[in-house]
Subunit: 301 residues, 2 copies
């Protein structure tokens, strides 16, 4: 049996981390957007004499210690008495560590595919397991719950799926420009002093966004958050300013990656592409907003 | 400006009403399914010198007292200082009062379309307004929150969107047969003694479904709920039993309408159509499951 799931990449615009000893109560407040590229997961299940789980990233098998989140999710989802081979093939449209929610996407896609295959758990039960191992292994705090909702999202109450609350903003005809420059360790940032400033600025941004919940306000607040926390500075800030010149809404930083993102309409594409060319930036993508829930289906290849 | 929304019809399989003086805390527990027919809402907005709201059902203008839920929703969503004509055209695929969640669909579609048009509210803020007027006018308790999630749903915590919690069951390739026979007043049933039995049986069904969350168990529990509460009896029960003969999963009653529903796969369609013909039932529909969130978009007609 072959199952396919698609989980959108999730970009965080601003956030407030909410730590908790109970991983289901840990999460984040904030806002971001789900896009129509992300993680494709193929789960292949075949009966055999022994219970085996394999995980592969972009076609390459990975050891347990390098895919601890996905292995843990699979261990909990595959029934204890199942005898057979479970192959979990994860393909990423974006590089790891750049702030696209790859680890959450892989975990959630694994959980939903296995629940779909074995029909032994609900959607939220499976999604909670993905969230739990994401949090326990410091993969992220709010990606899983954002990804199950899709669209431009506001996390208004922290926690796992079924506990946290995610809202959406209405928008029309926007596309999303993503420009990845490098990795940024979420773990390092959250363990540093910046976290205090993130909490203050993130809370302020969330309150202001809920007063006026539209995309213009979202990007104004995202940029202000990125600059005030000091996370967006130096070269990255310079590039954001250059992009601003050919965009109606301000560009901002992807939390947390050394990456930029911006919303734009069709008529702005040509102009921004010219600007990117002038900046000698070839590595960028223009995607759509993923408005739906994740897709899970039987795959007839 | 013309906005179009589609809200799926929502069929309740079993439920536990949860009354509360605060309409945002009122709601229901239970389970049901969203289908790919339901309510299409077109909202036409034009500037003019006065602020006017009109509602029409299936092309016919309706007075305020006959569409109090939709008028109330519009009154709260259209900005106070807006000058113009707002036409709300609701088209129903199913008859009113038969248990398809028409009033919730109309209210939710109106709320989401207006929030999309004016970009002044979030998705949940708009959906809460629809839920509030549904509850206050006894249109229903759990349809709005079920409709925003789609799929085969389990309401695990009661309340308005953003407060209640809705889960989903995984299923594959099922279609939904709906057979409407007549109206049943939700209000009358909820005001009668049957409500005690509904609460006991509904709670039991929900617990059992969460232990084994699959479609076979859902329909077994739905049918048991329908029979034990005495809501499914007489002729309607006889017809359900006839349908059972050509279906793998038991048929059950739509809560609350004098209507039946059943899940079936492609290979069962021919057989059940023959049975319906033998019973001289011509008025039925075979629909798909609506797995997504409601659709809201600008309409270029």
């Amino acid at each position: 049996m072959l199952i396919r799931a698609f989980i959108p990449a999730h970009i965080t615009a601003f956030f407030v981390p909410k730590f908790n000893d109970d991983p289901l109560l840990a999460g984040s407040l904030g806002a971001g957007v789900n896009i129509n590229k992300g993680v494709n997961i193929f789960v292949n299940i075949e009966n055999s004499l022994e219970r085996h789980v394999h995980v592969a990233f972009n076609g390459e098998p990975v050891k347990k210690r390098n895919a601890i989140i996905s292995y843990s999710v699979a261990e909990e989802l595959v029934p204890k008495d199942f005898l057979g081979e479970v192959g979990i093939w994860q393909y990423f449209d974006f590089p790891n560590g750049y702030g696209f929610g790859n680890s959450a996407g892989g975990a959630l896609g694994t959980a939903l595919s296995l629940a779909f295959a074995f029909k032994n758990m609900t959607f939220l039960q499976a999604a909670q397991i993905a969230h739990k191992y994401e949090v326990l292994n410091k993969g992220g705090l709010g990606d899983v719950i954002a990804q199950i909702h899709g669209g431009i999202e506001i996390r208004v109450k922290p926690g796992a799926p079924g506990i946290g609350v995610v809202d959406n903003i209405f928008s029309e005809n926007y596309r999303v420009l993503t420009v990845p420059f490098g990795r940024l360790s979420t773990r390092k940032v959250l363990d540093s002093d910046v976290v205090k400033l993130i909490e203050i600025e993130g809370k302020k941004a969330l309150e202001k966004l809920l007063e006026k919940p539209n995309i213009e306000n979202l990007m104004k607040l995202a940029r202000s958050f990125a600059e005030r926390t000091g996370l967006l500075s130096g070269d990255l800030l310079e590039i954001a300013r250059e992009l601003d010149k050919s965009l109606k809404l301000p560009a901002s930083m992807i939390m947390l990656g050394k990456s930029l993102f911006a919303f734009l309409k069709d008529e702005e594409v040509e102009m921004v592409q010219k600007t990117l060319e002038e900046l000698s930036i070839q590595n960028y993508q223009i995607c759509g907003i993923w408005e739906e829930k994740p897709k899970v289906e039987r795959w007839i290849g």
